[in-house]
Subunit: 300 residues, 2 copies
């Protein structure tokens, strides 16, 4: 049996981390955008061997337990302990790891959905297991519930699936331009002094967004958050300003990666592409993924 | 500007009503199925008149405020009080009203989403307004949150959007056969003695379903609920038994309408259709609608 799950890449625009001893009550407030590119997880289940084996591969390369602690912990909970057979979990990422596209949560949630589809379970239970693994092993706080919400999402009450509450903005005609330039460690940022600024600016941005809940306002608030927290500086800020010259809405910083994102209208796309080509900066363009992740039997 | 919203028809399989003075905390526990047919709401907004006018039509026929109290109350909250212009809300239903397809909630939610799209707002706020109108005017308790969940949904914590919690079952290959035979008043059933049996049997069914959360188990539990509450009797029960002879999973009763529904595999469909044609009973076949309702600008 071969199962495929797709989980959208999720870019955080601004956020407030909310820590809690109970992983299901930990999470984040904030807002972000789900893309139609992201993580595809293929799970193959074969019975008839003498032992229970679980294998995980990232982009075709087998990874050991230390390299994929989150996904292995999800798999250990969802493959029954008395199952005899081979479970292979192939995760493919459209964006590079560590660049702020929610790959870790995408792999965890895709694995949880595909294994629950194969072995039994529900969407909520699968999602909670993925969220718990993310929080416990510090992959992230809000990506799983954001990816479940789809579209342009707003986390209005922190927590995992079944506890946190998400909202969605209405939008039209936008594509998402992404400029991933490098890695940024979520762990290091959240361990640093910047957390206080993130909390204060994140709460302010959320409050303001809910007063005027539009994608245009979201980008203004995201940019103010990125600059005021001191996360968006130097070359990256200069590049954001360059992009602003050809776009109606401000670009902002991917939270948390060394990269930028922007909402782009069809008519603005050529100018933005030309600018980035001139600057010799690589980029990608994605549609917004609405609705839930996908999971089902894979034939093909 | 013309906006279209689609909200799936929702069939309740079993339920527990949960009453509360705060409409957002009222709701239901239970499970049900969302169909790819349902309610389409078209909203046209024209400015430039001297007064604020709201008009609603069901299936092309204008309805007055008494006939559409739920949708009018939604519209009154979402069309700004200082708006000068004509708002026309055209609701089209794929299934007859009062037969248990969630038309009332579909109209309320579709209206709320389309008006929020046109005048500003968010998915959560629109959904809460639709739920509140449904509860306050006794259209239903759980349809709005169930329609937002899509697929085969399970209401595991009662309440409106943002408070209630829904789960989803994994499924494959099923279509939904529906046999709508007549109306049943939700108000009358919920005012009668049967409520105690509904509460006891509904809680039992939910508990059992969560132990083995599959579509097949759902149908067994739905049928037990329908018979044990005394709601499925007489001719309707006889027809259910006829259907069972040609289907793998038991059919059950639409809650609340005088009608039946069943999950049908592709290979069973011809036999089921032939049986119903023989019996001269009209029926419909729908796919399961996964994910959220749809809303967007309508062109064409």
């Amino acid at each position: 049996m071969l199962i495929r799950a797709f989980v959208p890449a999720h870019i955080t625009a601004f956020f407030v981390p909310v820590f809690h001893d109970d992983p299901l009550k930990a999470g984040s407030l904030g807002a972000g955008i789900n893309l139609d590119k992201g993580t595809n997880v293929f799970v193959s289940v074969e019975t008839g061997t003498l032992e229970r084996h679980i294998h995980i591969a990232f982009n075709g390369e087998p990874v050991n337990r230390e390299e994929a602690v989150i996904s292995y912990s999800v798999a250990e909970r969802l493959v029954p302990s008395d199952f005899l057979g081979e479970v292979e979990i192939w995760q493919y990422f459209d964006f590079p790891n560590g660049h702020g596209f929610g790959n870790s949560a995408g792999g965890a949630l895709g694995t949880a959905l595909a294994l629950s589809y194969a072995f039994g379970g529900t969407w909520l239970r699968a999602s909670q297991i993925a969220h718990e693994a993310e929080v416990t092993h510090r992959g992230g706080l809000g990506d799983v519930i954001a990816q479940l919400a789809g579209g342009i999402e707003v986390r209005v009450k922190a927590g995992g699936p079944g506890i946190g509450v998400t909202d969605n903005l209405f939008f039209e005609d936008y594509r998402v331009l992404v400029v991933p330039l490098g890695k940024l460690s979520t762990k290091e940022v959240l361990d640093g002094d910047v957390v206080k600024a993130i909390e204060a600016e994140g709460r302010k941005a959320l409050e303001e967004l809910l007063k005027e809940p539009t994608p245009e306002r979201l980008m203004v608030l995201a940019r103010a958050f990125a600059e005021r927290t001191g996360l968006l500086t130097g070359e990256l800020l200069e590049l954001a300003k360059e992009l602003d010259r050809v776009l109606k809405n401000p670009s902002s910083m991917i939270m948390l990666g060394k990269g930028l994102f922007a909402l782009v209208l069809e008519k603005e796309l050529e100018n933005a592409k030309a600018l980035l080509a001139d600057l010799k900066v690589s980029y990608d363009v994605a549609e917004i993924h609405e609705g839930k992740p996908k999971v089902g039997r894979w034939v093909g």
